[in-house]
Amino acid sequence: MIGLNVTKEYIGGLLDKYGDMILRISYTYLKNRDDAEDVVQEVMLSVVDKFPDFKDDSHEKAWFIKATINRCKNKLNLFWNKNKVSADSVPEEPYNDCYSSDSAVADAVASLPKKYRVPVYLHYYEGYSTDEIAELTDAAAATVRSQLRRAREMLKNTLKEDYDFE
């Protein structure tokens, strides 16, 4: 079969290594702590199901980032499909701010459209280049650069003197 033997200790090691990253990406995307924690669990359990065969650390990290983004999209799709109602009664995107402190920067990033939030996280927190982000998010490199530029413009307008995204 494909992959390797998975044990509880192996999952524990992966959780220590990537759990925080998965949680941050999920929270950035979903803005909801409970849903973000569900995504972490789903991603880890998918390792048990799929036994992915990682070539190296960078491949391993990229796998987790892609799997997390896909599960976040699934969660939003399922939420949308199960809650089709008239436009007037559509609730706003839930925002569980259990993780937030009094940070204008966090609020400003959270207020960005979701298609900008993940590239901002991957570039300014994880340090990925635009080409790497394009590969992780299945987008064109030009699209990623455009998204980051637009995100910086919006953050500059919001943060003004607190803006420090280079």
Binding site: M1, I2, V6, T7, K8, I11, G12, L15, G19, D20, L23, R24, Y27, E37, V40, Q41, M44, L45, S46, V48, D49, K50, F51, D53, K66, A67, N70, R71, K73, N74, N77, L78, N81, K82, Y99, S100, S101, S103, A104, V105, A106, V109, Y121, Y124, Y125, G127, D138, D162, D164, F165, E166
Partner: protein, 292 residues
Amino acid sequence: MSENYKKQLNNIVVSDQLKQRILAAAEEKIEKKASKSKIPYKYCFRIAAGAAACAAIVFVSAITVNFGNNTADNGNRPQNIFAQMPKTEINEESDEKTATPPENKNQTLNTPDTLPEKYNIENRDSSNSDSIVRKSEEVEALPADESAPSDTHVPSDNEIPAVLAPAPAVNIASIEEIESKVGYKINLPQYLPDGYAAKDASLMFGSLVQIVYSDENDEIIYRTEKTQGNISGDYNVYDKTETAEINGVQATFCGNDDKYYLAYWNCGEAYSLSSREGLAIDEFIAIAESVE
């Protein structure tokens, strides 16, 4: 880099409570998978039953082919059909056929006196080999291939048509092996409903990749190939057909009642998903969208 942003995100960490919850769920899942693998006889039974069924089909088809080659046409043709058909007068000089209408509606159709003897089916003597289609002596003289039944042969209930040979498939042990054989990166679903795991992978006809995911009750068959169209192999007629956009392309979902059994789409390569027991369309969409 934004230091403020980094500082904020550093607050977001996996709590001990969450970690314990995830590890407990993982342990339960690992134990469940391990207990499944201790019951090989169910899997072996399926393989044995499948092999027996294939052998039976091949055996019966071999008999049928031999039976068809050795059977003459005339003995099997139901003669009552021809007796009920309106008789036709044959003009041998002009080769024109004109129907001879009865003089009276109530008059029973009989073989016209002018009909040449060889076209009179009711009076045909089987020992007289002068048949319309072919003489029995000619049948016996022909090589085996040419003595096949004519197009008007009506198969009896005991005859079973030959079946096609099963598709040639090669079992594969890893995705890397598949990719090395087909020469390109294979996209796979990154999301599956709870309980499903990869069970089998194969390469069919040298280009069609098939991966079977299963849980206790169902199988999801995922296929991909560098081509266009519906490659699922599922040609059932379903009551419902829905379309939805998957990663920028239109996907088709087919089902009955409230379950869906088939999804297929093209995005560079052709993709298909089929579920034996059926899934909610949301699940199909989620699986399809996770293919990467």
